[in-house]
C-alpha cells in the first residue's frame, strides 16, 4: 500500500481564509505524530470549527457556550449548510477552550450567530471545496465537473458518486483553497428550516452533564458562607462544631477581591458530599467586619433617585435642537422606576477546580472565559499557560456567567486542598449574592405644540454596572442605550442624560434588560403622550417612525444602525395579528410596545390583550410577539428564544424585585424571588418578519417590551403602573 506522508500542511491549516486571524495552532486529537501514513488517518479537520470522519460524520466545534439559547444547533446548521451534509450526520461539541481565536468563546449580547455566521460559512465551504477537489483528483477530472450533494460528491459528467467519508484522507492532503465560493442564500436547504436541538436526547435521558454534574476522581464538595455585605472582611470563624460533622474534610477561608468581580470574603466547608458541607456550614460561627457601607438600602436609593431627577443630569447623553424653547408649554412629565433583578438561573452557580503547585485545571460554564482565565491567573499566581479550562453546559446563564466570581472562589478554595473541589452555591446564596440588573429611575418630560410632539427630555438615573467592574468614576454607562442617538422616535428637540448613583450592592449584566432599561419608560411615556394628544397609540408611534430613514451612529468598531422602519414593521405585524383595530370585547384592553436591540440587529414588538376581571385584577388573554432579526438560521430556536424572552419579561413585569436593607439583599430563594409559574403563562403567538438581511441575534430582543406592553394595556383599562413590578401597584392576576 502506498504510504503518503502527511506533513504540517495537513494539520490544522492556519489560514486567514479558514479561521480569520487564528493566532496559534492546536493539535488535532487522534493524529499522534506530525508524520503518519494517510491510510491511518481517521478524519479530516481543515480548521478549528469542524472535522469529518471516514464514516462521513461531521463534528462541529461550537465556540459559543450553550446555556439553552440553541447555539449548539444554530451554529452547526451554518457549517452543515455550506458543507452540504445531512444534518443528521452532524453532531456538536463544545469547542475545547483555547482552540478558538481570542474572544471567540465569548458568549453574550445575542451575538453568537451574528459574529460566527461568516466564519462558519467559510469553514464549511472550505471543507466542501477540499472534499470536492479530492474527488476530482480521484476521477482525474476538473473540479468544475464535480458537485457536492448531501454528503457526497457527484461527477456531473458520468454521475458517479463518492461519499464524503471516503474522501477525508485524501482531502487532508490537499492545500487549503485560496478562495471558496459561498452559496447564494436563495439556495439554502437547511438554514431557515426548523431543527430540533442537537443534544436533546442527552437532556431527556438525564445524561447531559452541566457544570454541577462534573465528577472527578477523589473530588470533594464545597459550599461557602459569604460576607453579607459587599467588600466586607472576615474577622474570625469558630468552626469547632462544624468540623465534627461526619464527612467534613477541611474548613477554609478566603479573602474578597474588589473589582472587577467583587468576590466576597468567605468561609468554605469542604466535605466528601454536598450534604455534609451544607450541614457543617450551618454550624459555623463567623464574625465579619462589614465595613462602613453596611447601612444602604433600596428605599434610600429610590428616594435619592427621585430627589435628583429634577436636577440636570450629571452626564449628557444625546442632544438635538433646543428643548428649552418649549419649557413649561403643554408639558407632560412622568417618572418610572425599575428595581434590581436577579438572573435566577435554574442551575445555581458552581465551579470545579483542581489546584497543583504550578497549575490549575478548571471545569464549569463561563460566558467570558478569556477574561475569567486572565483574572484567575492574576488572583491565583498561576501562569495563564498553566491553566486548563474545560467548558461545560450551563443550566441557564442570562448573563450571570459573564461574571466569574464563583470561579475565582473555587480556585481560592481548591488552592487550600490537595484534591479537586466542586464549589456549589446553594439557592439562597445564588439569590443573595447575584450580580443584579441595576435598579433605575427615569424622568421623562415632553412638550406638544399644534397636536405634535415637539420636545423630549429623558433623565436616566441608575446604578452603573461599570462602577462594579471598573470602579466608581467609570464613564461606561450601559443604561444610556436607546436614550442615545438610537432613540427611535422622530422628535425635533431632544435632550437626554444620565446620573449615576452608587449603592453597595453588586451589579451585572442581565439578559436584555441591563442595556434595555429604557424600553419600559420610553414605550410607556409614548403611550401617555398619545393619550394626552388624543391619538391612537399605534398611529402615534407610526407617525414618529414611518418617515424616518435608517441611520448609523457611534464610532468604529461600534457603529450601530437604527432602522425605524423595521421597528414600525414589527409593531404593525403584532398589532394586526392581535386584531388591534377590531372592536374590543367588554373589559378587554390591548397594549403595545416596540424596540430595537440594535447591537444584535433585531427589532421586536409585543401586543398584549388583557381582560380586567375586577378593578385591580386582570388576566392576560393573548400575547403576540413580532420579530425582525434578518435571516433566521433555526426558526425553532427563534421561537424558543422569543417564548423564553417573554417568560423572562413577564416575570419582571409582574413580580421580579430585589430589595436591599442594611446593604443586604432581602430575598434568599424562589420564595422571596418568585419566577413565572406554569399556570401564569398565557398563550403566545410569534410572528417572524421575512428578511434577507444578515442574521441578527434573538436572545434578548424579546424581553424588554413585555412590561411596557402590559402596562399600556393596564393604563388603557384605567390605572397606569409606572413602577415595576406591577404587583407593587396592587395588581393581581390569574
Amino acid at each position: 500500500m502506498k504510504k503518503e506522508k502527511i506533513d504540517r500542511r495537513n494539520f490544522i491549516k492556519l489560514s486567514s481564509l479558514a479561521t480569520g486571524s487564528l493566532a496559534i495552532g492546536f493539535m488535532v486529537p487522534g493524529l499522534k505524530a506530525l508524520a503518519i501514513p494517510v491510510t491511518e488517518c481517521e478524519f479530516f479537520q481543515p480548521n478549528a470549527y469542524l472535522k469529518i470522519d471516514k464514516k462521513g460524520k461531521v463534528t462541529v466545534y461550537v465556540a459559543k457556550q450553550e446555556s439553552g439559547q440553541g447555539v449548539d444547533t444554530a451554529l452547526p446548521m451554518i457549517v452543515a449548510e455550506e458543507m452540504d451534509v445531512d444534518f443528521r450526520n452532524v453532531r456538536s461539541e463544545i469547542a475545547p477552550y483555547g482552540t478558538m481565536k481570542a474572544g471567540e468563546h465569548d458568549t453574550g449580547g445575542s451575538q453568537s450567530v451574528m459574529t460566527m455566521y461568516a466564519s462558519l460559512r467559510n469553514a464549511g465551504a472550505v471543507a466542501k471545496t477540499m472534499l470536492v477537489a479530492a474527488a476530482a483528483e480521484i476521477w482525474k477530472t476538473d473540479v468544475k465537473n464535480c458537485a457536492a450533494d448531501n454528503g457526497e460528491v457527484v461527477n456531473t459528467i458520468n454521475m458517479q458518486r463518492i461519499k464524503y467519508g471516503d474522501l477525508v484522507c485524501r482531502a487532508a492532503l490537499l492545500p487549503l483553497p485560496k478562495t471558496v465560493s459561498l452559496k447564494n442564500p436563495k439556495d439554502f436547504k437547511l438554514i431557515g428550516k426548523p431543527e430540533k436541538r442537537s443534544n436533546v436526547k442527552d437532556v431527556l435521558t438525564g445524561k447531559a452533564k452541566y457544570g454541577l454534574d462534573i465528577k472527578l476522581d477523589g473530588m470533594l464538595y464545597a459550599v461557602a458562607e459569604r460576607c453579607p455585605v459587599l467588600d466586607g472582611t472576615l474577622v474570625s470563624v469558630d468552626d469547632t462544631a462544624a468540623r465534627k460533622v461526619p464527612g467534613v474534610i477541611k474548613i477554609v477561608s478566603y479573602t474578597g477581591t474588589g473589582a472587577p468581580m467583587h468576590v466576597r470574603a468567605g468561609v468554605a466547608v469542604i466535605a466528601t458530599n454536598t450534604w455534609a458541607a451544607i450541614r457543617a456550614k450551618e454550624l459555623l460561627q463567623i464574625t465579619w467586619d462589614e465595613g462602613k457601607k453596611n447601612k444602604e438600602s433600596t428605599d434610600v436609593l429610590f428616594k435619592t433617585f427621585e430627589a435628583k431627577a429634577g436636577s440636570k443630569p450629571q452626564v449628557p447623553v444625546f442632544n438635538k435642537g433646543d428643548v428649552t424653547k418649549f419649557s413649561g408649554k403643554n408639558e407632560i412629565s412622568a417618572d418610572y422606576a425599575q428595581p434590581f433583578l436577579a438572573h435566577a438561573t435554574i442551575e445555581p452557580m458552581n465551579f470545579v477546580a483542581a489546584a497543583k503547585a504550578n497549575s490549575l485545571e478548571l471545569w464549569g460554564g463561563l460566558q467570558l472565559p478569556d477574561w475569567a482565565v486572565n483574572t484567575i491567573a492574576e488572583v491565583s499566581g498561576i501562569k495563564k499557560e498553566n491553566i486548563k479550562l474545560n467548558l461545560t453546559l450551563m443550566g441557564g446563564a442570562f448573563g450571570r456567567r459573564l461574571h466569574f466570581d464563583f470561579a475565582i472562589e473555587a480556585v481560592k478554595i481548591a488552592q487550600q486542598v490537595d484534591k479537586p473541589v466542586k464549589l456549589m452555591w446553594e439557592r439562597t446564596e445564588d439569590i443573595l449574592h447575584s450580580m443584579y440588573r441595576p435598579a433605575n429611575y427615569h424622568r421623562l418630560t415632553a412638550n406638544t405644540a399644534g397636536g405634535k410632539l415637539v420636545s423630549w427630555q429623558h433623565h436616566i438615573l441608575g446604578t452603573p454596572v461599570s462602577y462594579m467592574t471598573e470602579g466608581p468614576g467609570s464613564k461606561n454607562f450601559d443604561e444610556v442605550n436607546s436614550a442615545d442617538a438610537g432613540f427611535w422616535y422622530d422628535v425635533p428637540n431632544i435632550s437626554t442624560g444620565y446620573t449615576p448613583v452608587d449603592i453597595n450592592i453588586n451589579r451585572g449584566w442581565v439578559r436584555s434588560v441591563d442595556i434595555c432599561v429604557n424600553t419600559f419608560p420610553i414605550e410607556c411615556f409614548i403611550d401617555e403622550l398619545a393619550a394626552s394628544l388624543k391619538k391612537d397609540p399605534l398611529d402615534f408611534r407610526l407617525s414618529l417612525l414611518e418617515n424616518r430613514k435608517d441611520y448609523t451612529f457611534g464610532k468604529e468598531p461600534m457603529l450601530l444602525t437604527q432602522s425605524p422602519a423595521r421597528i414600525a414593521g414589527v409593531l404593525k405585524m403584532a398589532a394586526d395579528k392581535i386584531g388591534y383595530s377590531n372592536k374590543r370585547k367588554p373589559n378587554h384592553f390591548i397594549g403595545l410596545a416596540t424596540h430595537a436591540f440594535i447591537f444584535a440587529k433585531a427589532f421586536a414588538a409585543h401586543a398584549i390583550e388583557i381582560e380586567m376581571l375586577e378593578p385591580w385584577k386582570f388576566t392576560i388573554k393573548r400575547v403576540v410577539a413580532a420579530i425582525d432579526c434578518g435571516l433566521v438560521i433555526n426558526p425553532d430556536g427563534l421561537l424558543n428564544q422569543m417564548q423564553g424572552g417573554f417568560v423572562f419579561g413577564l416575570t419582571q413585569a409582574l413580580k421580579g424585585e430585589i430589595t436591599v436593607k442594611d446593604s443586604r439583599v432581602m430575598q434568599d430563594g424562589f420564595s422571596g424571588y418568585e419566577l413565572l409559574r406554569f399556570d401564569e403563562m398565557p398563550p403566545i403567538e410569534i410572528l417572524v418578519a421575512a428578511s434577507t438581511e444578515e442574521p441578527g441575534g434573538v436572545g434578548e430582543v424579546g424581553v424588554s417590551t413585555v412590561a411596557p406592553a402590559l402596562c399600556n394595556a393596564l393604563a388603557a383599562a384605567g390605572h397606569r403602573p409606572r413602577t415595576l413590578p406591577i404587583r407593587k401597584a396592587g395588581y393581581s392576576w390569574v
Binding site: E66, S67, G68, Q69, G70, K196, R197, N199, V200, K201, V203, L204, T205, G206, K207, A208, K209, Y210, L212, D213, K215, Y221, P246, G247, T272, N273, T274, W275, A276, I278, R279, I346, E347, P348, L393, M394, G395, G396, A397, M424, E426, R427, D636, N640, G644, G669, F670, S671, F678, D679
Partner: protein, 125 residues
C-alpha cells in the same frame, strides 16, 4: 455511619450515609446519578423530582432513611433508551432549552401518567 439498601431503577444499591441525608445528594454525590438536579433544596422548584412507589417526590426533601424498601425511579431509569412516552413526547415537541429542569418536569409527568392513564387537561397536576 449507617448503611441503607436502596432499590433504584430496579437495581439494589447499598450506601453509607447519615439518616438525614436527602435522597438528592445520595443520588448525585454517592451514586453518580446526576440526572436528578438540584435547584433549590427546599421543595420550591421541582428540579429534583423522582418517582417513589409511583408518586412524584422531591428528592431534596426525602431523607435516605425514608427510602428503604421503596421503589425509586430516577430519570436514568425512566426507560432504557429514552423511549418512555413522556420522553418521546418531549422529544417530539422539542421541549428543552437549557434542559436542566427537564428531568424533574418529565418525572412529574411520568408520575401523573401512572395515576391517570388519560389525563384530560394539559394543566392537570
Amino acid at each position: 455511619m449507617p448503611a441503607y439498601s436502596l432499590n433504584i431503577n430496579n437495581k439494589n444499591y447499598t450506601v453509607e450515609a447519615d439518616a438525614e441525608m436527602p435522597l438528592l445528594w445520595v443520588l448525585r454525590d454517592l451514586l453518580d446519578l446526576t440526572g436528578t438536579k438540584y435547584g433549590c433544596g427546599v421543595a420550591s422548584c421541582g428540579a429534583c423530582t423522582v418517582i417513589i412507589d409511583d408518586n412524584a417526590v422531591f428528592a431534596c426533601r426525602r431523607t435516605v432513611g425514608n427510602c428503604v424498601n421503596k421503589k425509586i425511579i430516577t430519570i436514568e431509569g425512566l426507560s432504557e433508551d429514552g423511549s418512555h412516552p413522556v420522553q418521546k413526547a418531549w422529544q417530539q415537541a422539542a421541549v428543552p432549552q437549557c434542559g436542566y429542569c427537564q428531568p424533574g418536569q418529565m418525572m412529574s409527568a411520568a408520575a401523573l401518567l401512572i395515576k391517570n392513564k388519560r389525563p384530560s387537561e394539559p394543566r392537570d397536576q
